[in-house]
């Protein structure tokens, strides 16, 4: 068992991948973040594979899964909540079975990808923000609902190379039910909050972009936000040494939200003509960045969001979200996932697999895309890895075709 006692562990419970989790903190349940606490409290042992809801041996379950895939005309690999190694295995399985690959977070991932593929963008990473950002503008998000330790690890840090962390200007622009208290500085300076509902962000953000590029706007307000306030915000961004414009794709969940994201990123592009600013896309979970990236280098294309109905079989992987299940439908479902999965109706086949960063090693991309962190096993597993299970299924499939 690869359990390392002396190193810090990396927590894969959200896209922030905090890698300062000590073994003592795990064993004494003293982790400061709720998502991490729930993750490390998971019980993942003592669960046997199932076929049709009845306990089965691993070999029986693998055979059953392979048989379903052999019969399938249009399989779909979905959920895909795993790490880079799991992603490699899933893409390999998709090649053997001519399956499409998608992810739990496909809709929020593809919202960002639409912008990247249409216009490109200008973005930064956490260590740059930690050391440089003097103005942090969060648009439609409080970040902390997704990445609880963002302010602790990146914003209100003890020291930075090129700025005074405690003097940073924190601004929230729009969003529903935000928790803005983490934006209060260590000296007690409250953040600026510009209220508007998420649904009104399209108008408000396009006005901000227009003001940054000095387009004349005659209206006195947009969606209840005064133009003077937005004009002041535009000037703050222009005057910043390193303005950081943050969004979380999942929080911009409305029709054509990619156009809002594009207005954010094009505001950054406009700012960078004269001063310095960068975009920062946060949130992320379930290895969404890892799966999209690995899929891209292995296939040359990003992940897909295929129509669910056109598939007769679903291979479902939910390692970081045990409660997540595919939408009920007529598909045969093969779950290769969390031992602590909860089923309303038993899937055709269930094979529990080890969870990278909990009871097996792995590697995961952080939400900002450039940093990849090793995952360690913090406790022993009795389930095989996803890679091992897929290798067994592929061996059965090969045997059939030989």
């Amino acid at each position: 068992m690869n359990i390392q006692q002396n190193t810090m562990h990396t927590c894969p419970a959200c896209g922030l991948l905090c890698d300062d989790i000590s073994s003592e903190a795990v064993s004494s349940r003293q982790v400061s973040c709720g998502k991490a606490a729930a993750f490390y409290a998971r019980v993942t042992t003592g669960v046997s594979p199932q076929v049709g809801g009845r306990a089965a041996s691993l070999a029986e379950a693998v055979s059953a899964a392979a048989n379903i895939l052999k019969q399938s005309k249009a399989p779909l690999v979905a959920g895909s909540s795993t790490d880079v190694h799991g992603a490699r295995a899933l893409v390999g399985l998709s090649h053997r079975t001519h399956a499409a690959v998608t992810h739990l977070n496909a809709s929020s991932t593809l919202r960002n990808m639409k912008v990247l593929q249409h216009k490109g963008w200008q973005t930064t990473t956490l260590t740059e923000v930690r050391n440089r950002a003097d103005v942090i503008l969060m648009i439609g998000t409080d970040v902390v609902s997704h990445n609880a330790r963002f302010f602790e690890r990146v914003v209100w840090v003890p020291e930075a190379m090129f700025t005074v962390p405690s003097a940073r200007k924190i601004i929230y622009l729009g969003g529903d039910q935000l928790d803005t208290t983490p934006g209060i500085s260590p000296q007690g300076v409250a953040p600026q909050v510009i209220d508007c509902a998420t649904a009104q962000l399209p108008e408000v953000v396009s006005c901000l972009r227009a003001l940054v590029v000095n387009k004349p706007i005659s209206a006195a307000a947009v969606a209840g936000v005064s133009m003077d306030q937005l004009r002041a915000l535009a000037e703050t961004l222009k005057a910043a040494k390193y303005a950081t414009l943050v969004w979380v794709s999942k929080d911009l969940d409305y029709d054509h939200a990619d156009l809002t994201i594009e207005n954010i990123t094009e505001t950054v592009v406009a700012l960078n003509q004269k001063s310095r600013a960068m975009g920062l896309s946060l949130g992320g979970s379930d290895g969404d960045t890892s799966v999209n990236y690995a899929h891209t280098w292995l296939n040359g294309v990003i992940i897909d969001a295929p129509a669910w109905e056109s598939h007769d079989t679903v291979v479902w992987v939910n390692s970081y979200s045990p409660q997540a299940m595919p939408p009920a439908g007529k598909q045969s479902v093969i779950v290769l996932g969390a031992p602590d999965s909860t089923f309303e109706a038993p899937p055709a086949v269930f094979i529990p697999v080890a969870t990278p960063g909990l009871d097996c090693a792995g590697q995961q991309f952080r939400v900002d895309g450039s940093v990849i962190l090793p995952l360690t096993a913090v406790k022993p597993a009795d389930a095989p890895t996803l890679t091992q299970v897929i290798a067994m299924i592929e061996a059965e499939l090969e045997g059939a075709s030989a």
Partner: protein
């Protein structure tokens, strides 16, 4: 089992052999001396005088890492489904992006089909090295390796601004090679990527960095000295300041003097050989650059030839790519600042022969190739995918070997560009021996791969067999046979067996005491643990396909 290649016409510049007919014996992946009569020969290939060279080595090709993967994402309008054949279909889906941005399987397959058996990723961001290795690990058929980028990382810039001694810098450079599992050190726009983060838009060689008050020249001195002192073979890999700017040849000439005579490799020098003459204030300075390379024996260079067509440029140089984004085609680009370590800029380009600047870029690259006298000091690259995809190498080789073909191509260029180039006055035609030098023997020597790039006893049996043809593009596009580590993997230009290659590294000795300082820096300023920055051999070998080959240095 012993394999015999009989009646090979060997071109092996490392041993001065130019068309010598001989037999080659292979056992356990290595070339061996003629075995005793009593030993059994398992397999015999009678080559009947076919041309045999070592496997080719691409010493500068962007094959893996963050910016390469962004490039793959950037042109969905060029995606197409392909019909793949076995065994490629076994390990790859039918999807692909543009041919300038192949997926990892596509990369390995297309390289080996041309007789290339190794490629080196020249811009591994230290903090992103894990991704570069994952992608290279998923690249079949060929060996891989990388050069780690330093010189815009705040750790080194802080050391230099604090007047740290050379030993400290040497230890940091050696530590970086270990931590990132790389074989060389690269510097991209020294100081410039960092300066861009402070809102500077240009960084000249002798201009003080806006924050650290040190010059790029000082960075080049310190790093070229460190690379020399720690004793790795690969000279400092330098992407000069002022990439792509008219008049930048002077920066390039000045950069040659920045290492105090220590070896330096100037990469994609075509993009750094521009003058300001003529109506359009953009001209060829290839003659000045070639003359300086000929004179300065401590300098090597690869060309970064451009060829016409659609590509996506991917560079660590976000400062200059931010300027280049104005001429992106299609109009989109990705610019990133990364982790107080580096940056990147990904910009699609369409090089067109009717465009004055593009046409002259094409001519400048060829002028450099034909005017640098020593094929051991100039390397055949397109800076894949920045000048053109690596799959255009056979075409490029024909341009170098066939003057008529080259001049016919020149005649089709933008007329104003023709008037500004002396290409037609250059009569040189490269020989097979010179091509073998610049694509095999010289890159192996430069990088320090003692057992690659030649066909002597003890060499790894990476071997390419060609039928000699008048049409050199056809000859180099489709070798008859390719052996990787002694196994026949390509027959008549088609892959017949999938292998996975290895990752080459250099791990010179250093004082581990430096790690205490580095850890302190990570703890104070970074968002990750230093221990997690370091990549182990096990991580390279994960998923069972790849392994590390470390090359003893000095």
């Amino acid at each position: 089992m012993i394999t015999l290649l009989k009646n090979a016409k060997v071109i092996d510049p490392a041993h001065g052999k130019d068309g010598v007919t001989q037999d080659i014996y292979i056992r356990d992946g290595r070339i061996i001396a003629k075995p005793a009569e009593s030993e059994k020969i398992g397999q015999v290939y009678d080559l009947n005088g076919k041309i045999v060279m070592a496997g080719a080595i691409d010493m500068h090709s962007h094959i893996g890492g963050g910016k390469v993967n962004i490039a793959r994402m950037l042109l969905p309008e060029y995606q197409a489904m392909r019909q793949l054949e076995e065994p490629e279909a076994h390990i790859c889906g039918a999807n692909c992006s543009h041919l300038a941005t192949p997926n990892t399987t596509d990369t390995g397959m297309r390289y080996i089909e041309m007789g290339y058996t190794a490629a080196f990723e020249p811009a591994v961001l230290a903090v992103n090295a894990r991704q570069a290795h994952m992608e290279m690990g998923d690249t079949p058929m060929i060996d891989k390796g990388g050069y780690a980028m330093l010189g815009n990382d705040d750790y080194l810039l802080r050391l230099l601004s604090q007047n740290a001694d050379q030993k400290t810098i040497n230890d940091y450079v050696a530590w970086t090679l270990h931590a990132t599992q790389t074989i060389g050190i690269k510097v991209v726009n020294p100081g410039g990527i960092s300066a861009f983060k402070f809102n500077e838009r240009r960084q000249d060689l002798d201009q003080q960095h806006a924050f650290y008050q040190i010059t790029p020249r000082r960075i080049l001195q310190a790093l070229s000295r460190a690379v020399h002192d720690i004793g790795i073979a690969k000279p400092l890999h330098v992407h000069c300041n002022n990439l792509g700017v008219a008049g930048n040849f002077q920066t390039t000439l000045d950069t040659m003097g920045a290492s105090d005579g220590l070896p330096m490799h100037l990469t994609h020098i075509q993009f750094h050989s521009y003058g300001t003459e003529g109506d359009k204030k953009f001209s060829s300075a290839a003659a000045n650059i070639a003359e300086a390379i000929n004179k300065n024996k401590h300098i090597t260079a690869d060309v970064g030839q451009i060829l016409f067509g659609q590509t996506v440029t991917a560079s660590g140089d976000n400062m200059m790519q931010h300027l280049n984004a104005k001429v992106a085609n299609p109009k989109k680009s990705v610019i990133m600042d990364i982790e107080c370590d580096a940056g990147c800029g990904v910009v699609p380009f369409k090089y067109r022969d009717e465009n004055y600047v593009n046409a002259l870029q094409w001519a400048i690259g060829l002028e450099v190739f034909l005017s640098v006298e020593d094929p051991w000091r100039v390397f055949l690259t397109t800076d894949h995918p920045n000048g053109a995809p690596f799959t255009s190498y056979p075409h490029l080789i024909r341009l170098l070997m066939d003057k008529t073909f080259r001049n016919d191509a020149f005649d089709k260029l933008n007329l104003d560009a023709q008037a500004m180039s002396n290409l037609k006055a250059l009569n040189r035609e490269y020989s097979l021996y010179e091509i073998a030098t610049m694509t095999r023997a010289a890159p192996a020597k430069l990088i320090g791969l003692h057992d690659r790039g030649h066909l002597g006893v003890g060499a790894a049996a990476d071997i390419t067999v060609y039928t000699e043809q008048a049409d050199k593009e056809a000859m180099f596009a489709k070798p008859d046979l390719v052996f990787k580590d002694g196994e026949l993997v390509v027959k008549e230009g088609k892959v017949i067996k999938v292998v996975w290659g290895a990752t080459h590294t250099a791990k010179p000795a250093f004082d581990l005491g430096i790690e205490k300082e580095i850890k302190q820096y990570f703890d104070r300023y970074h968002t990750m643990q230093m221990d997690h920055f370091k990549i182990s051999n096990d991580h390279i070998a994960e998923d069972g396909r790849n392994h590390v080959i470390n090359h003893t240095q000095g």
